[in-house]
Amino acid sequence: MNNQKILEAKEIVAGYNKKMVLQGVSIELYEKEVVALIGPNGAGKSTLIKTVFGILKPKSGKIFFKGEDITGREPYKNSLNGMGYFIQGGEVFTNLTVMENLLIPQYIDKKLERENLLDEVFSLFPELKSLNDKRAGILSGGERQMLALGILLMKKPEILLLDEPISKLAPIWKNKFIEKIKELKEKWGLSIIFWAEQDIPKALSVADRVYVMKLGKMEFCGTPEELRQGKKLEEAYFK
């Protein structure tokens, strides 16, 4: 891997109240890389990403972003520093119009440019342009998911953390979303971690590397090809 490491979580122990879900988990993300984090329900995927983003504070372990120690830093600071966190289900501001939703990041961080970013987001999601004066609450599930990703892109993030982005989508939208992830890596130069419980073949089709988690521990790290050849995936899900 020639690219620089942009994110690194080392030996993370974290959880909720006294129950430690993660037991010494590490993960790395390089520039312009797509990483799929897969594993069964209860493996600790969401807990890991919430800890990386700062929603949960780790009991031990370190997190580095762009070489800087960000362990325990508040989520809004991580967000302003270049992390984009996609909440499961594709959260949007349902009472605001599509255009108002897209402009919220600019109102939060006035240093961000507006016009060019809007054009770029509309070129990635042309369907949003025709909906821009519609209230986001009336969008279909797929449109809402696109808007949720569009809002994050208006922040001009350097990395994206996507929580189960395709699990609840209709098949046609799942394929579209996977295409968008590819485009974000290739044309936008973004680094992306997305985690999936289902739709494993789709996740593997777009990932450069894969991590497999089970019961709060990392069971596998390698390329999709290496995963397909071994038995780690079956072991994680069925044993």
């Binding site: 983003f53 989520p75 809004y76 600071k77 967000s79 302003l80 966190y85 909440i87 959260e91 949007v92 501001f93 349902t94 009472n95 605001l96 108002e100 402009l103 919220i104 990041p105 600019q106 109102y107 939060i108 961080d109 209230r135 609450g137 009336i138 599930g141 809002i151 994050l152 922040k155």
Partner: protein, 292 residues
Amino acid sequence: MTLQVIANGLIAGCVYALVALGFGLIYKTTRILHFAHGAVYTAAAYALYFFLISISFPVFISIVLALIIGTLLGISTETFLYYPLHRKKAPYAISFIASMGIYLFLVNLIAMLFGNEVKIIQPGLEKTYQFAGIILTRTQIIETIVFVVVFLVFYIFMKKSGLGRLIRALSNNPELATVLGMNIRKTRLLVFGLGSLLASISGLLVALDIGIDPNIGFSAVFVCAVAVIIGGIDIFEGAVLGAFLLGLIQNITIWKLSARWQEAITFGILILFLLLRPQGILSYKKRMEEIS
């Protein structure tokens, strides 16, 4: 007579609407039943009395100082009470009880300082004006004009400005607002400042119109909570509609029955709405997954 009652009802609605807008704004953004809003309303009215009557400051300066005191009081409740509770993830019921405590403390403090009797700021008979058979006092006309101007400014601020959109975003989805990097603390302070300013303006209008006693905030905050619920929690303009409806119904009640029935009718309407249209008069059309 009917037109006069309607006019009185609408003017009462103007005063309620300002308190209800502030109460609704704070509730929608923070989910706190800010009962101390009534104390802010009362304190601003007493501050006007103190500066204007007790120490004879000029009218304009007294009004500005009273508005500042009311606004700062609201911001203080957020800074020293609600936000620390929010950080500790205290249930909303705790914030509500704390709010009641602040209300009782402030009202008793005001009673201790100024006494329990009614204070009149404008003694004597007021000049009246007649329009198409409706008689309005000078203060009632001021109340109407102030409401129209303040509501228009507030509406444009909420719909068109960046800060207004941030407030609407926070009230709609606090989790997403945090994830996008919003400084929640600053936005909440802005909401409390704005809401308290609206309550203070209303408190001043009531002080000029009918005078004040330490308990005026109690009924104001209850009526306004009802106005927010029946007008529609989702949309902030709903509070205004609810306030006008209550103002009208209360004045019709006074005319046809007696002033003693006002509160019973108000809560009767609340119960009817909770049973038949819990989302209030104005609400957004929602998809099934939003409702669930």
